[in-house]
C-alpha cells in the first residue's frame, strides 16, 4: 500500500484518523521509503519549532506589556510586595483601633441626632453606611475634592472577583468590597487626623490592598467604568 505526500504530512501533523494512522505506521516498518518520507517531514517540523521556540521564551518587551498592564506609579504591586504584605498580619496590629472605631460607629448609628454613621452591621458583618457608603458608591479617586470627608484610594478586584476600594477618612480607614450592592468592610484601622500618621497608614492600606487584589489596581477609566456599572460582578 502506498501513501501520497499529503497523507504523510497529515500523519505527521496528527490529522489522520486512528485507522489510517495505524496503517501508515505499520507500513513504514517494512517500507524504508515511506519511513524516510515521514522522517523528512518530522525533521522539518522540529527544525521550525526549534528555530522559533526562543522567541516565545524571550521576555515580552515592556512596550507591549504596558498596553495591557498599565503601570501604577504610586503603588508597588509587585509579587514581592504582595508576599511581604501577606506575611504581615495587618489585622493583628490594629484590632484595638478597629474595635474602638466600630463601637463608636455603631453607637453613633443608634442616635439619630448625630450625623449618619459610616458603618453598620448586616448579617453579622460590618458594612459601610451613610456618607462612607455613598463615597464608595459614587466617588472617583481621579476627581475627588482634596477636602473630601472620605478619600478613595485604590479600586481593584479581589480574587473572588468582587470590586474593592480602599478609603481613608478622619475616623476610619479601610477597604470595602462590594457584595450584592453592599460594601463589606474587610480591613479597617482608625483614621489618622494627623498628616504624618495618615501617610504611614496610607502605605499600609496600599500594601493590604496589593495583597488582596487579583490583577492590577484600576486606572481612572476602569474605575469610572466599574462605578457606572454599579460595582457589580460580571
Amino acid at each position: 500500500m502506498s501513501f501520497d505526500s499529503a497523507t504523510v504530512a497529515a500523519f505527521v501533523d496528527g490529522e489522520l484518523d486512528d485507522l489510517t494512522a495505524r496503517r501508515i505506521e505499520r507500513d513504514a516498518e517494512s517500507n524504508p521509503e515511506l519511513a524516510a518520507e515521514i522522517a523528512r517531514h518530522r525533521a522539518l517540523k522540529q527544525q521550525l519549532a526549534a528555530h522559533y521556540a526562543p522567541v516565545a521564551g524571550e521576555p515580552v518587551p515592556e512596550r507591549l506589556r504596558a498596553l495591557l498592564v498599565p503601570p501604577v506609579a504610586a503603588v508597588d504591586t509587585s509579587i514581592g510586595t504582595r508576599r511581604e504584605a501577606r506575611r504581615t498580619p495587618f489585622a493583628a496590629i490594629h484590632w484595638g483601633a478597629i474595635a474602638a472605631s466600630l463601637i463608636l460607629g455603631l453607637a453613633l448609628g443608634l442616635r439619630p441626632w448625630i450625623p449618619a454613621a459610616s458603618i453598620a452591621e448586616a448579617d453579622g458583618t460590618i458594612i459601610a453606611a451613610g456618607p462612607l457608603a455613598k463615597a464608595l458608591d459614587t466617588q472617583l479617586a481621579s476627581n475627588q475634592p482634596s477636602d473630601a470627608a472620605v478619600r478613595i484610594g485604590l479600586s481593584f478586584r479581589d480574587s473572588a472577583g468582587r470590586y474593592c476600594r480602599s478609603f481613608e477618612s478622619e475616623s476610619l480607614n479601610g477597604i470595602g468590597c462590594n457584595d450584592s450592592g453592599r460594601w463589606h468592610l474587610e480591613r479597617m484601622t482608625g483614621g489618622q487626623p494627623d498628616a504624618d500618621y495618615r501617610q504611614a497608614s496610607s502605605g499600609e492600606l496600599a500594601a493590604a490592598a496589593a495583597a488582596m487584589m487579583a490583577g492590577d489596581p484600576f486606572d481612572a477609566a476602569a474605575e469610572r467604568q466599574a462605578r457606572d456599572k454599579g460595582w457589580r460582578r460580571r
Binding site: E15, A56, V69
Partner: protein, 162 residues
Amino acid sequence: MRFEEELVELLPRLRRFARGLARHAADADDLCQAAIERGLKSRDQWQQGTRLDSWMYRITRNLWIDERRAAGRRGVHAPIDEAATQVAGDGAAEVEAGALRGDVDSAMARLPDEQREVVMLVLVEGYAYREAADILEVPVGTVTSRLARGRETLMHLLGEAA
C-alpha cells in the same frame, strides 16, 4: 479571567507568530503592538467562551496582510515554482546564500505570505488544519494545499543544506 490578563499570557506565542510573519524582530513587535491595540479596541467583538488566541491570531494576520498590501511589494504573491527559483527585490543573493546554509529565516522569507502563515500556524504554533482554516478564513483544502507547497519548498531549501 480578565481580557487583558488572558492577552498578556498569550503575548509570548503571539510574538512568535508575528516573528514568523514579519521576520525582523522590531517589525514583528510593531505588528504585535498594532494587533494588541486593535484587539483592545474591538474587544466587544470577541465572544466570551470562544478562543481568544484564534481571534488574536486572526487580527495579527489580517493586519500583516493589510500592511503587505499597502507596501505593495512585488513578487510576494508569485506562484511557488517561481518563488522557489527567483527572489524579487534587494538582498536576493543574501537570501539565497542564507537558505543554502540551512537558515530557517531565509528559507521562510522565500515563501509567499499565504504559505508562510499556514506553515507558522500548523507547523510552529501547532494548530489543527481546521483551526488554521478558521483563523485564516479559508477552506481546509486551501490550508492543506498551501501547507504542502510551503513544506516542499522548505524541505528542498533546508533539507539539502543539512
